[in-house]
Symmetry: C2
């Protein structure tokens, strides 16, 4: 796996649906004439990563950091040239990952911030459709502040959290879609010029935003970055 | 990744679509309340495995065996308790894989033969919807002979091969569906009491068989075996 495109390691299982969705998006981003044209990936689908929501919101349960670091080491040992993690919340533990390996993490939060800076420029406002756990981490606030872009969130944390748990349990159900559309409408009304679909569960229903809202799925930005890194250099 | 269910290593990328489909089937086979209920997998999505069709049919190109053996070793080193390979044709190289590791390969061909023996018993007849490369390997003939079950194939190898290449290139297009339905009807007329959808590309259109035909997708049997092995012992 040394010839041609470079292998990307995927820290997956958070959740499994999102990990499959990322592979689908990477596959669709490549114009393939045969199998050999696709991007080499090593995916660790690890359902045993402690709950990020339990650790961040409920303050209970194990720190996912050490387990993510061990996954990153295994992926580096498997010959991966870079890492990717299709879970916004888990980026709270990005330092634990990057400290454990010599290969880069294609940081989905940083990719989203760069995208917003290109689209909006200084003084813009981005609305976030994500888990309350992401809100608590202030990951996007810190990343976007560097570009002079402000961040707003929908009011109903509980509704967002419920929708995420519904999708984890039952897949993209209508109740979850309705909750996302409502939150997206709120963000438009509050002046968001751009919205991030920034929860891997919401990626499964990323079309369910307010009519006319400009929204980008952070997993799409990650898929693009994977293809670019793998096929460059 | 040592607690709870055992980790299964997936030799993937042959093709990528089939590798994603297997993950989808494993995910759907588990009743999950949260991420942690799912099956741990390590998936090596390796588009660099030399073409099985080129090696088996055209007699050109590199032997995939050594590369599959190296993948198996990496997956064993990553802590996998068993291996799975969602590509029927590649099972021609199963010995190269099992010789390289101490963990078992959940052999999709053997799983299919066992299923046929349970469904049909001695003297039954199975029709195969697969790549001409699989036909040439006589994988199913050897596996089913042990159970006293005979094997028949559709006539048009060229049509099957074209359909596989269409799916690899453009996804599940109508032309490919029509070709599979035609071949399946042939097998029914020829007296097949059971049909194997035994090509990972055909798994993407596994519903496109003759009306009333009893068909089973070998990837479904592999997904079941993965869940059973992972959650047992």
């Amino acid at each position: 796996m040394t010839r041609g495109p470079r292998t990307i390691g995927v820290l997956g299982g958070m959740g499994p649906e999102a990990t499959i969705l990322l592979q689908r998006k990477v596959l669709d981003a490549v114009l393939a004439r045969d199998d050999s044209d696709h991007i080499p990936l090593v995916i660790e689908m690890n359902p045993r990563v402690p709950s990020r929501i339990a650790h961040l919101l409920e303050g209970t349960g194990e720190d996912p950091g050490p387990i993510l670091a061990a996954m990153a080491e295994r992926l580096q040992n498997a010959g991966c040239a870079a890492l990717a993690m299709p879970c916004n919340t888990a980026h709270h533990y990005a330092d634990a990952i990057t400290d454990a390996v010599q290969i880069p993490l294609l940081n989905m939060i940083d990719l989203a911030a760069q995208h917003a800076a290109e689209k909006l420029g200084k003084g813009g406002c981005v609305g976030i459709l994500a888990s309350p756990a992401v809100r608590k981490t202030e990951l996007f606030e810190r990343a976007l502040e560097a570009y002079g872009i402000s961040v707003i969130w929908p009011d109903q944390d509980a509704a967002m959290l419920l929708a995420i748990r519904q999708i984890k349990m039952d897949g993209p159900v209508p109740e979850a879609r309705d909750a996302l559309i409502l939150a997206s409408s709120e963000l438009v009304a509050a002046g968001a010029a751009l919205q991030f679909v920034a929860c891997s569960e919401f990626s499964l229903i990323a079309q369910s935003v307010a009519e006319g809202a400009q929204a980008v799925d952070t997993v799409d930005l990650l898929a693009q970055a994977i293809v670019e890194f793998s096929t460059s250099g």
